[in-house]
């Protein structure tokens, strides 16, 4: 059995060592929001034209992206949870962390707005109202950047969501898109980043009800994975990508990206 398994592995390795192997590529562990909004489809061809380097994006939740990168399964990390990114660096997995761009989180909900929070600017107060009205709230529940930001707000609102989990507080344990689909299906409120929401196709009457609170700020950062800790990291190519993203050209490529005519990411490197 063991010999068979080994044979299968070698055979599979043999079969796949074929066409897809471009030699100049890097793997970027990143988040679904940047991928689903189409940002990478806009900026990566520009980078490739400039350098000839192919960027392969693995888009998962921020929590999973950081864990994958901590295993050495990626050359660059581009996510949105600054505290977790800094911990990634202090743990020795990354070289240094830099701000790339920002946008903001918004709270979306059904058009009928059963909790009466539409137009509020104080996000924590709005969440408190949703909790008091016990209207369904769909949470990512997956340790992603958005989930972490949402939990911080609940804490500020003084609501113990763990106690409400399963009643009005619904933890989907899924990605942003899946959570929005569920929220649209059950008439629940949800927190999401503006880029994902602007490009999301299945709104089902849901709309933005709360926005503009400074606490809804959503910062994206970039980290080069540490080649001393993970020798397989393509540090040279990864460094080129990081430098480009932070350069004037990279930053203006981000700024020029539009979804339905609107800018959804705002570059702020070096800020």
């Amino acid at each position: 059995m063991v010999r068979h398994a080994l044979f299968a592995l070698t055979a599979a390795a043999f079969i796949a060592s074929g066409p897809a192997a471009a030699d100049r590529f890097i793997i970027v562990q990143s988040t679904t929001s940047t991928q689903n909004s189409g940002l990478y489809g806009h900026i990566l061809p520009i980078f490739r034209e400039r350098t000839g380097i192919e960027v392969r994006v693995v888009a998962v939740g921020t929590g999973q992206a950081i864990r994958n990168a901590a295993n050495g399964d990626g050359d660059v990390l581009l996510v949105h949870a600054p505290k977790a990114e800094e911990k990634f660096v202090t743990d020795g997995h990354g070289i240094e962390r830099a701000d790339v761009m920002y946008n903001d989180f918004v709270i979306v909900g059904p058009a009928s707005d059963p909790a009466g929070v539409a137009g509020m600017r104080d996000a924590a107060a709005a969440l408190r109202k949703i909790a008091e009205a016990a209207v369904p709230f769909a949470s990512r529940g997956d340790d992603s950047g958005t989930h972490k930001a949402e939990l911080r707000l609940w804490k500020e609102a003084g609501i113990d969501v763990a106690a409400a989990s399963g009643s009005w507080y619904r933890e989907t344990g899924s990605g942003m898109g899946a959570t929005l689909n569920i929220g649209a299906g059950m008439g629940a409120y949800a927190m999401t980043d503006r880029a994902t929401w602007t490009s999301f196709g299945n709104r089902n009457g849901h709309r933005i009800v709360v926005e503009g609170d400074p606490r809804l700020f959503n910062q994206y950062g970039i980290v080069l994975v540490n080649p001393e800790k993970h020798p397989n990291v393509r540090a040279g190519l990864g460094r080129q990508f990081v430098d480009w993203v932070l350069s004037e050209e990279g930053q203006s490529a981000i700024a020029s990206y539009r979804v339905e005519g609107r800018q959804v990411f705002f570059p702020n490197a070096g800020g």
């Binding site: 796949a16 689903n36 050495g72 399964d73 898109g177 299945n202």
Partner: protein
């Protein structure tokens, strides 16, 4: 019902438009799944036939395990394959993670138990008819397995198709070890998952119909081959 017909229409126009992205995705789906099924058959058919034809201590336990492994959840297979292939894992130096090879390995783990368990049953039924003949002719163990596999080949074709169906439809394993990277490891099922997460439900469903059409085409092709093989054998 309205939206159902619209989605069906969109699926048909997707197939008719046949743009290069779709061709690439369909091609990779077929390459990955057919490779995985082929490797699974190389391992699973002889394994299943041996368990079906021979009596040995612990045989019942082996059968129970094989049958149980048919229910392996794809996500679990994906995680196991990820932990093995990760740079931090034992096979990390091969640098196979996030390549089609990783997806083939994951699907092979998923499909091999199905091929082995089903072919065990097919061969065992076959063996009851042949046992006496084998004994009187003094056929050795290796030749027994080979003869049984050959004589049961048409039933075993259905076994391979069952494995194909399982592999081509799963998303949990390939999305973890492949990473759903555009133009590198994006297959039909991961594209459907991606479009669903973007809220493009109609496009996702239309792609699902395309996937179904591919499965029908592959099954149809195999059945046609089988029919002409049978005709030639009895002509």
């Amino acid at each position: 019902m309205d939206s159902f017909w619209r989605i069906l229409g969109e699926a048909v126009s997707l197939i008719l438009a046949w743009d290069s992205d779709l061709i690439e995705i369909v091609g990779l789906s077929l390459r990955v799944t057919l490779s995985a099924v082929a490797i699974s058959c190389v391992i699973g058919l002889p394994l299943g036939a041996a368990v079906g034809a021979f009596r040995f201590p612990g045989r019942t336990a082996v059968i129970v395990v094989l049958n149980a492994l048919m229910g392996l959840p794809p996500v679990v297979v994906g995680l196991i394959a990820y932990l093995m292939l990760s740079a931090a894992g034992p096979l990390g130096p091969l640098e196979l993670l996030y390549t089609p090879a990783a997806m083939i390995i994951a699907q092979t783990i998923l499909v091999t138990p199905i091929v082995a368990a089903l072919s065990r049953q097919v061969v065992e039924d076959c063996y009851r008819e042949y046992a006496e003949q084998f004994d009187s002719l003094g056929v050795g163990p290796f030749d027994r397995v080979a003869a049984l596999l050959w004589d049961a080949r048409y039933s075993l074709l259905t076994v391979a198709l069952a494995g194909f169906g399982r592999a081509v439809a799963e998303v949990g394993a390939v999305i973890i070890v492949g990473g759903n990277i555009n133009h590198v490891t994006r297959v039909m099922t991961t594209t459907i998952a991606l479009e669903t997460s973007k809220g493009n439900l109609e496009l996702a469903l239309a792609l699902g119909v395309v996937l179904l059409a591919i499965a029908v085409a592959v099954n149809g092709a195999v059945m046609t081959l089988r029919a002409s093989a049978v005709r030639m054998a009895y002509a």
